[in-house]
Amino acid sequence: MKSWLLQAALQMVLALLLSPLVSGFIRKLKANLQNRRGPGLLQPYHDLFKLIRKGTVVSEHASWLFRVTPYIAFLAALMVSLMIPMVTALVPLSFFGGVLAVVYLLALGRFFVALAALDTASAFGGMGSSREMTISAIAEPAMMLSIFTVAITAGSTNLGWMVQAALQHQERFLSPSHILAFVAMFIVLIAETGRLPVDNPATHLELTMIHEAMILEYSGHYLALIEWGAALKQLVLMTLLVNIFFPIGVGARFSLASVVVGLAAYLGKLFLLASAVALVETSNAKLRLFRVPDFLAVGFILAALALASTFIF
């Protein structure tokens, strides 16, 4: 019981501290790839700390929904970060909900952010909200299908068990179904975290922004919570990707040695994936909104192929 609590607390602190770093890392690497120096790795921490201390301006048209949304979005993402395997396969709160709960809790956060976007009567908010809900609707089938592929191979939706099952059958890592499902999930990651070529996180250009348009009216600590929540969501999805598909090095027990090895392996895999995201972002132009469904359809077809290939191989 005591070690369980300790583990949950440690995982929470790790998620809270690591998530801005991943965003900063991607930003820095993108800048370097574009021959810019870019802001420092720690810039997101400075941003968050500055925002938390600042006052807020809330629209006079907004209702209480606008004020509670940052808390719901942030806490939903934080809760999810306690339900996923990060360093060891012993997930602190895996019994509260497996991979399906992770997907739906993130959807809950998105539901409220999309509502709050409409709350300020701004046309930008409406536009961002409409686009976000549309893209998430078409990303969902691909995501669920690739999750199903992994859950079926593992015979469980409990994330801890999924990792342990994958660890016992390491030969599966390079099986076609595994790789196809991984790529499908990577496409979903790009869409869900609002990255190029689906959405550009660095722009405030009115006609192209999606996520930024939704949160345009937020300021001060509300904005800090929303941004931190988005960073946590990104960390959660990336962790799922690296640890469910390639649980190399994930500790099987909660001991000092396995935690150290697990942490090193986790950080290595995580930053490798973050580099891949930065590479995709630099080498692709933003897609027109109505081309995004084609991109996500590729993800869906890959996931369907992954599922079909579990029969052939």
Partner: protein
């Protein structure tokens, strides 16, 4: 819907119950829709394991379609709630709206409460399904779904997956002090004020500038245009140059595909059939007594033969 807006301030109770209902129907935790969806996903996963044939691919595909449905429902209800209840009122009537009476709110409250209760305590209600499954497959399911301590729902064993909406809610409450404390510690002295929504430097934000319900669902209409076949017609009257429009007429139309290809033919077939057999009802008591006699005879013969 295009005429509403801002009702959350005038009708706080109605808006709150509508919000609960929207969260529930979109299948989001911790309400009843999520429990149903979770049980459906789990049965689809188990269904996949029940057969070796290629046909079992249908289970995950169904799961993907269910995910699509849930996400589309969320989009629909963000639109319904957001356009109707949030932002600025779009008409005088919406501006003068007032809360509905206590009894009408009580009706909604009851349903919303049921959503919350079914979501948080599914283990109380699942045993009620046992008599149905007992008849159908000869098994009671609740004992397989409820974990030993009674607070978790499992898919036949903890290692196959489990869920606890009650756990999620308690976790939410346990973690809630964290962001609240952040606010209290760091931005106590900061100014928190009301301000205008950014209106691109215009004089004032008017309801006409808000996103409309039609605009909100436009991306989805465009993506599924093979089904909806949206058509629109814009007609502008202008003087001198077309940049000085005098009046503008806008019409949009979508094809009710499912209605046309599924419901209407079905409806028509049923109506035709019922017209055919209408002569049976001739309105004479003797004839009806004769029908009863015939039915009795048929049942007796049935009993005799089998």
């Amino acid at each position: 819907m295009e005429d509403l807006g801002g009702l959350i301030k005038k009708m706080p109770g109605t808006a709150f119950f509508f919000l609960l209902g929207s969260v529930a129907i979109s299948g989001l935790p911790p309400l009843n829709g999520f429990i149903s969806e979770w049980l459906t996903y789990q049965s689809l996963l188990q269904g996949f394991g029940s057969t070796e044939k290629l046909l079992r691919l249908i289970f995950p595909i169904t799961g993907a379609l269910l995910a699509l449905t849930a996400a589309l429902a969320a989009a629909c209800f963000v639109k319904a709630l957001g356009i109707t209840f949030l932002a600025l009122p779009r008409s005088r009537q919406a501006e003068q709206a007032h809360e509905s009476s206590g009894s009408m709110q009580a009706g909604m409250a009851l349903l919303a409460l049921a959503c919350v209760f079914l979501g948080l305590f599914p283990m109380i209600f699942l045993p009620m399904l046992d008599s149905a499954t007992q008849q159908l497959v000869g098994q009671s399911i609740s004992s397989q779904l409820i974990a030993a301590n009674g607070w978790l729902l499992t898919a036949q064993g903890l290692e196959k997956g489990s869920i606890s909406t009650l756990g999620m809610v308690s976790l939410f409450l346990v973690l809630l002090p964290l962001p609240v404390a952040l606010r209290l510690v760091f931005s106590r002295q900061a100014k928190h004020e009301l301000g205008e929504t950014w209106d691109c430097g215009l004089d004032q934000l008017t309801p006409q500038m808000e996103y409309t319900a039609t605009a909100y669902s436009k991306p989805l209409r465009m993506i599924f245009r093979a089904i909806y076949r949206p058509r629109r017609q814009v007609q502008a009257d202008f003087e001198v140059s077309r940049y000085f429009t005098k009046s503008i007429r806008f019409e949009t139309h979508i094809e009710p595909t499912f209605e046309k290809l599924l419901y209407r033919p079905l409806n028509r077939a049923i109506l035709r059939l019922s017209r055919r057999i209408r002569w049976v009802q001739i309105g004479s008591l003797n004839a009806y007594l004769f029908y009863i006699f015939l039915t009795l005879l048929a049942l007796l013969l049935w009993e005799k033969v089998y």
